[in-house]
Symmetry: C2
Subunit: 438 residues, 2 copies
């Protein structure tokens, strides 16, 4: 329930001191272009997933220096009076384009392009990076898990292993990438994601014995519920479950042990009892590799926690937000010039960019094309930048379902290598227009 | 600015369905004890750091099912009407003890002990774990960086590489563990942590050349500011910086390249110009290992980002929240019995626990003692559990500075092995009273 409040202080101190110094020098009003991109993908990833756009647009709307915020800045001497006046009136009035949420990205893809005065663009750096770096990392990990599950349902249940608000965003990113539900109730309230859950070991331990715990759960939640069967001895628990619920039992959940072996035994037992419709849900420190290893086991759904919310080894997407062009002078109509730092090991390519995904005649992606000018696209090039903000007005809002559907289409368009679990290169190369490569 | 809102939905769905089923069975009112602990430490950690207590107590106070929350639960059929009534009146009325914030912990340390009815204790599981798992992970990584820095100041600047609200909590956890400042403004406002920052590469690139950018920054922020000198060529930038600011220049910042080699060259140059008081700050993908490697370089401070906010390889503290004891029956005065699940690979030790740190006669910690009863401690045993909540009333609030000072004392008390960067066992063993070991 944070979305009603100012997001302006979710910002690094230096963004505001840069505004102060630029107001002082007169350069604050220079027209600029900032871009967000990843220099590389994490080692195991063949593609990245754009996620966070909807959250960023909401946070942008709340990026207001209200009296409480200004009072904090003034009392702590963080910026001077002219800067406080500027911030009090702050409304982003520029333009933002971005890769549509759910689309895939690759090294160098300009996934966000922010154009406006230096002062209005630079202050969005931290907020934009925080949101996209987190959400893209989770969505990119989640998307691999979705492939590994081969169409079986996936439940996100990692809230307890990440910051309480990051948990809500993680549930959103996982759903966008193809997960089916979440355990997180606030994600249900805030984003409309289906929520699910039944009971933990504590519920069994609370009762005098497993039988009375199962009976209590069935009496209250119905025979369609999921009984957790690994508190003591799995096969005895499954037997008790079927005795109490009959063959209409919804599901049993395995949370420990050799999940493949147990699933085979449990399936055989359930089928023997006529409980052929009772599903087997597995949980317990799963990641994309263990999900894939369970492909041949009789498993009907996966619950994923820690690995999902920590980005399965890549908890941040390494996105950066860089000034790539600026007006040649303080004059209002001065043309833009590309700019780029030359720091060792951290090069950036100057100049505003456009992007398209090139497909072959079967519709399979073959390369990511990054241009230094607005290109005329062929029918086999899909444009990637969509307008998100025009003249300060948010125009890029869409339902989360739209991003979820887009992601499914975007991944389906990639070559088969994209869906490999092994390490390797990005699924398609990024090809920069020649003048960007210099 | 989230702290005014209900925290009740930052919760897993199954906590509430368990309440429903337990209300139905009559076991909801059974007295219970839940404990939070880590089964093990991450591979590289010699100790864990308790962090999140202050945030948890604030969130507990806001754990209220207000009309908006109840409406969501009702509309989505998540729980039945009797459960909605129970939740509408929910106020935690039990007792909570915990390791004091900032203290160190080890495998099996009962860092939080929650006692009350099943229904009132179980619903706190997700929220408590989210807060402690995140904050302990960050503080535990930060504490190692503080040792590695050998007294040189550390600035937390990782906001952009983690969820925007996790960033605020990460700044708090880092400060608690001994960091000196943060770049995160909301952490300054919310927790009173010193904030700092001056400029990024974008500021230099915005201006016609590096000289005019430096001049602009010095004119606005004063000669005590920190100039970023690696946008183009470091030594030329340092020369320009001293030409413009004179020997009173506050600091220069290096963000790329061979930091050790550069620091040596820059120090020599600055000293040659009489700028002996100008500090050298280094940033750029630092972690505890690179900080330690820079110990012999003429560096005056470190800025740490990604590695800090991602827990330097261990983004979650693996804490669990388990039912360890419950009333033997539904009778109001029924005595408590220990309970524990027997899931393969995930054992827990039943029974309410107490804990103390045993010290030798020089005051060095030798073991973590975990008891199954309230022990009579010797003068060489320091009790570890302090009251946080009594009869629903929060009694454990303290200033963040108190936790920060406690952490410094707690680490100083550990044997020297605790401060090694290499992999290895926990710095002290956890010794369980015999009846817990069975």
């Amino acid at each position: 329930m944070t979305e009603r409040w100012s997001s302006a202080l979710l910002t690094d101190h230096y963004e505001l001191t840069m505004v102060q110094a630029a107001l002082h020098s007169g350069a604050a009003q220079r027209r600029t272009v900032f871009e967000m991109f990843a220099r590389r993908l994490p080692e195991t990833r063949r593609y990245g997933v754009v996620a966070g756009t909807g959250r960023f647009l909401d946070a942008l709307e709340r990026f207001r220096f209200d009296p409480e915020v200004l009072d904090f800045l003034a009392r702590n001497g963080i910026v001077d009076d002219p800067t406080l006046s500027f911030l009090a009136d702050y409304r982003f009035s520029g333009d933002i384009w971005g890769y549509a949420e759910g689309d895939c990205f690759f090294p160098g893809s300009p996934i966000l392009v922010v154009e406006g005065s230096f002062a209005e663009c630079v202050v969005l750096e931290t907020l934009a990076l925080s949101i996209y770096n987190h959400d893209c990392a989770i969505a990119s990990a989640a998307s691999r898990m979705v492939h590994a599950a081969h169409g079986r349902p996936l439940i996100e249940m990692g809230s307890r292993r990440t910051h309480e608000e990051a948990a809500v965003a993680a549930a959103r990113a996982a759903y966008l990438a193809g997960f089916d539900a979440t355990s997180n109730l606030e994600a249900g309230r805030r984003h409309g994601i289906p929520t699910t859950g039944t009971s933990a070991h504590a519920f069994t331990l609370l009762h005098d014995n497993e039988r009375s715990a199962f009976a209590a759960q069935l009496a209250s939640l119905g025979t369609g519920t999921t009984l957790l069967v690994d508190t003591y001895e799995v096969m005895r628990a499954v037997n008790t479950a079927v005795e109490l619920a009959g063959p209409e039992l919804g599901a049993v959940r395995l949370d420990s042990g050799d999940l493949e072996e147990l699933a085979i035994q449990v399936r055989k037992f359930l089928d023997g009892k006529g409980a052929t419709g009772t599903r087997i849900i597995v949980t317990g420190d799963l990641d994309e590799y263990s999900i894939q290893a369970l492909a041949i086991a009789p498993v009907d759904g996966y619950g994923v926690g820690t690995a999902l919310v920590t980005g399965s080894g890549a908890p941040t997407a390494s996105l950066v937000y860089k000034l790539v062009a600026r007006a040649q002078s303080d004059a209002p109509d001065a043309p833009l010039s590309p700019v780029a730092k030359r720091s060792v090991g951290k090069p950036s390519k100057g100049g505003r960019k456009w992007a398209a995904r090139r497909l072959d005649d079967r519709g399979v992606a073959t390369s990511e094309r990054v241009f230094a000018h607005e290109p005329e696209l062929t029918p086999l090039e899909r444009p990637l930048l969509v307008p998100l903000v025009r003249g300060g007005e948010i125009v890029g809002r869409e339902p989360l379902e739209a991003a979820r559907e887009r992601h499914a289409r975007s991944v389906a368009e990639l070559p088969a290598t994209a869906r490999q679990m092994s390490r390797g290169e990005p699924a398609i190369p990024t090809v920069f227009e020649q003048r960007l490569s210099l």
